[in-house]
Amino acid sequence: MSDTKKIETPHKKSFKSVGKPQPRHDARDKAFGYTKYADDLSILGMLYAKVLRSEYAAANILSIDTKKAEKLPGVRAVLTAKDVPNNETITRFGQTHSVGGFEGLYRVLADKKVRFKGEAIALVAAETIAIAEKAVKLIRANYDPLPGVFDPIEAMKPGAYQVGEGKSNVICNYKVRKGDVKKGFSLSDVIVENTYRVPFVDHAYIEPESGVAWTGEDGIINIQASTQVIEHFREIADVLGFPHNKVRVIGTMIGGGFGGKEDITVETYLALLAWKTKKPVKLTFTREESVLSHSKRHPYIMKYRTGATKDGKIMALEAELISDAGGYVYLSPWVLLYSTVGATGPYDIPHVKVDSCTVLTNNTFSSAFRGFGVPQVCFAYESQMDELARLLNLSPLEIRTRNYLRKGKALATGRVLDHYVALPETAEKALEALGKKRRPRSPAEKIGHGIASAMTSYGRMVFLHDTSRSYVGIEMDGSVTVRCGVQDLGGGQASSLAQIAAEELGVPMDDVRVYIADTALTPLAGTTTATRQLYMSGNATLMAAKEVKKRLLEKAAQMLDVVIDDLDLKDRKVLLRRKPGKTISLKNLVRACASDGIPLYKVAQFNAPFRELIDFKKGQGQVFPDFTFGTHAVEVAVDAETGKVQLLRLIACLDVGKAINPLSVEGQLEGGAIQGMGYALMEDVILKNGVTLTPSFSEYLIPTSLDVVDVECIMLESRDGVGPYGAKGVGEPSMVSIAPAIVNAVCDALGVRIFELPVTPEKIVKALKKA
């Protein structure tokens, strides 16, 4: 059902491996049950760790008595904050360029004040899990419970309970100013003003957080864990007071991450216990522990005011965004920046005013989650677009087409879009595929269509000065080795590098082996976050492979007495482009190079564009390297009596730049769409006074095979992205505009709008009663 369409662009290149749907190299081991995930690892003599977590969301810790736990036979270590060399640290999420300003306090183990329920207080390592569990129960923590604050609006008020030790719960504010919104609204014929709310959401990866650690030769702490960021080794070393080169993190295949394994989970606890006990240690969270202790998608309250002329030209947009950061800062300032810059959506608006802030509460902390603050604002601005269309009697496509940004136009932050902007095509093709509405099957059934568009960045913020490195080498038999510090989340991050190396060196993908995710042995490639690995490590691998190719061809040109341009590498051979008969096998060419001492490897570093920090007072400057544009179109059936929403069609149309492996790209578009569907219709982490009421998959419902439709993918290829061969990133863009498309379809079906996610049957029935 998928469909790849080329947009007419001047880029013409034929490909051997890239662009062909290929089974991924990691899929085989996974299909046979051979892949070792973190919890599958074991080491002889290994201890098992457990974490004691706070019973309160807000409290002072008066004392912690660990004596009974320590005396329990089989217990090897009980650690509290006082045992951690540098317990207070700051969140830097694997970045190497310091930008200052927003680095939030983070405590390895809670000390004095507890900020959320489930915060770690003590660690135990014991000979069995059962002993470790028993020991945790023997630790006596005395608390003085405090009132706490659980609502960001309350937390912002003067005199509010202080979550941390500071003077205000507000972590930071941003502004974007363009033109004059007062003037913009005075030029508008219609103005829509609404408040939107979105809930906490859990990543719900199927693999809970897990890892093992051991002390190796020379006292090096080795940690092998399920993480999106092996480069946390620096922060872990800082906590231990170790030099950075004495902490090594090795990544395992990750059983899903989606941003939830971007912040440190088990790694520091494991490092501390392995260091203290001098024994290997394993720690795996239970599902409930995972839900209580890892980050959530930020809830937002979003006030939007949008004005347009009667021809549907948007003149002004004013937005006020408040996000709930929960108990600790983590990545909240950056998530908020994404929301703030993204608040105007993919539209060209002359007058803009955006104010945003993120606030500490005593809820579970919020941090990175696929889309990083953009799905929240997309729900708001795309709902506003349909409200304007309804008032102006325009179709959802017309109002969008009249306002889409185009190449050469600037965002409200002044950033000029310098690459192809495929917004109109994505919307037209998505709607064309959606076709006509089907007929209702019963009198209560209402059918609705909805669309939503988005622009989503890929690559990290340009003032972080992001870099990635990759090694490409060719062995004596002509097989190819790639070494890259990339973490593989299951999106084909490693496999795409094999495909790029195969393309350049003219070998089948099976001839390429990719070694990944070891801070000691693979060139550092940065985080697997921000939809950046194909862009960053793909480019680094391409650079390295091209250099090795150049060296091979130089030698071949000499051997064949021709110029390099006449040569190509294909099917494990060097070929003369015009004279097919004459060849040298890659193996013989490699041997000839080796005899001459020609280095047949290259470590290349790719640097993203480096820019300075933007002006936060006016919100002017460049934040992102590039964007992926796309539109989702859906058809829903809503039962007007019960409020039940059934998804009938879901079409994802994105400009992917160039699909390196179309099978993997489709996988992202399909999986992202269904995560977006969960966000729209089902998912809600319910907290009451800081207590999570949905701690497992029995209460926190995610889409099952019975809830979903078959996502239909339309991939456009402008070949104008900044990734290898013009590729763009799709991991996060694939989920951003689903929720508003579904909500717009529900509104189209019923004539009433829901302003709060998830759109449950209860909310629909209530809204219908009010209407």
Binding site: P21, P23, R24, D26, A27, R28, D29, K30, A31, F32, G33, Y34, T35, K36, Y37, D39, D40, H203, A204, Y205, I206, E207, P208, M253, I254, G255, G256, F258, T284, T286, R287, L489, G490, G491, G492, L663, S664, E666, G667, E670, G671, G672, A673, I674, Q675, S696, F697, S698, I702, P703, T704, S705, L706, V708, D710, V711
Partner: protein, 157 residues
Amino acid sequence: MKTYSIHIILNGESIKIDVAAQETLLETLRDKLGATEVKNGCGKGDCGSCAVLLDGVAVNSCLTLTLQADGKEITTIKGIGNDENPHPLQKSFIEKGAIQCGFCTAGMIVSAKALLDTNLRPSREQIRDAISGNLCRCTGYKKIIDAIQDVAFESKP
């Protein structure tokens, strides 16, 4: 702790083992027998990653007491096929791109195998139903259903 001596057949291999009354089959398989291909995603029967075949019936091993498996045949993903002799479902999952992070894959293929063993030509809806107890957070299920359906179509009626 009182233990009971039982006999099971794991992927064709006959095994005698002592287990406690409250021990789950998941614990026995992963912790005692090293069958780490059986995954633990939730420990309470919500996610299906620990699914195995018990005398041909797909069960969540986290909700099954090992004592209940006494005298029975247990098949994990490794017993369904291997790289030298892959099951058509395994080939199809690889070729159709039905595997992303892979954490749900073992349980998913176990459920699919249980379906195809009793229903050679299931409809798409029957496939959806058969894997509804297996959560996948990466794929959106389409390629998984495609992969299962493809095997069903390939098989002779």
